[in-house]
């Protein structure tokens, strides 16, 4: 087989990482993604033991997580399984649902704060129109970020993931990096 070199969405062999005073931004190319949609009349499944969340929410299980994306529709995440056929596993776990592979359609940036929730919330308040008073652990929403449509997921108090279309990975990185660097001035 032809010997091909894999690149991440930002065009490098290694995922990009930027460290700032309080925040780190890390490209996460290891996250497998698949969408799951109920068919008419089908019963809500519990793939890999996940209790599929209500609108606007995200839940984590053992190595997998899920967030709501639309009525009767969820995105399922599996950390470290981007190289595998995760969608096939999900289809097997929820055979009555429609499952679509999403891994390479999205770019995921993990933003982690090293000094509490304040810098993270300051960043979000500049970038997205989300009511932060209500954006606690386990919330996930799709919104606009500099005119790009993104999912924003609150993984914990000091950790937020921003997920955008892979085709604008560079622009999204630029938006995040610029906003974080301006927090320090």
């Amino acid at each position: 087989m032809t010997d091909l070199t894999a690149f991440t969405a930002l065009g490098a062999a290694q995922p990009r990482l930027a460290s700032f005073e309080a925040l780190d931004i890390r490209e996460n190319p290891e996250l497998a993604l698949a969408s799951l949609a109920l068919r008419r009349g089908s019963i809500r499944p519990a793939p890999f033991g996940l209790h599929l969340p209500e609108p606007g929410r995200w839940v984590a299980g053992q190595g997998v997580a899920a967030f709501w994306v639309g009525p009767d529709q969820w995105m399922i995440e599996a950390e470290g399984r981007a190289e595998e056929n995760f969608a096939a596993d999900l289809k097997q776990a929820s055979p009555d649902c429609t499952v679509t592979e999403q891994t390479d359609g999205w770019i995921v940036f993990e933003i982690v704060s090293r000094s509490g929730r304040a810098p993270l919330e300051e960043l979000l308040s500049k970038l997205v129109n989300i009511d932060l008073a209500d954006f606690e652990l386990g919330r996930a929403t799709r919104t606009g970020l500099e005119d790009m449509s993104c999912f924003v997921i609150r993984r914990n108090e000091t950790h937020v993931a921003v997920m955008g279309a892979r085709s604008f990975a560079g622009s999204l990185w630029h938006a995040l990096e610029t906003a974080v660097s301006r927090l320090q001035t």
């Binding site: 639309g70 009525p71 929403t141 799709r142 919104t143 606009g144």
Partner: protein, 96 residues
């Protein structure tokens, strides 16, 4: 402007795309005897009310649902919003 999304609560209007008058939901029967005239009205004719107006808004940067938003064109007050799917299903049930 905030739109009261029936599932997600108040959302910024900038997340939405305006799709037009709600009468677009009532697409005429293309096999009907007067289909050409009906489609001509459907495509080109709109009321232009001063006051309460029902219109379709698509939550593009959100959950991708289509809403029927009731809005006053005089005051820009948003008087209500419901899922277009529920609206269309209720219409269909009412018409049968």
């Amino acid at each position: 402007m905030l739109i009261p999304h029936p599932i997600l609560g108040s959302r910024d209007a900038r997340e939405f795309t305006y799709l037009g008058d709600v009468r677009l939901v009532d697409r005429p029967d293309p096999t009907g005897p007067d289909a050409e005239a009906a489609f001509c009205d459907y495509v080109f004719l709109r009321d232009n009310p001063a006051g309460v107006h029902r219109e379709l808004w698509f939550h593009e940067q959100g959950d991708r649902s289509c809403l029927v938003v009731t809005r006053s064109t005089i005051t820009h007050d948003i008087l209500g919003a419901e899922l277009a799917r529920d609206f269309a299903l209720a219409r269909k049930r009412g018409g049968e």
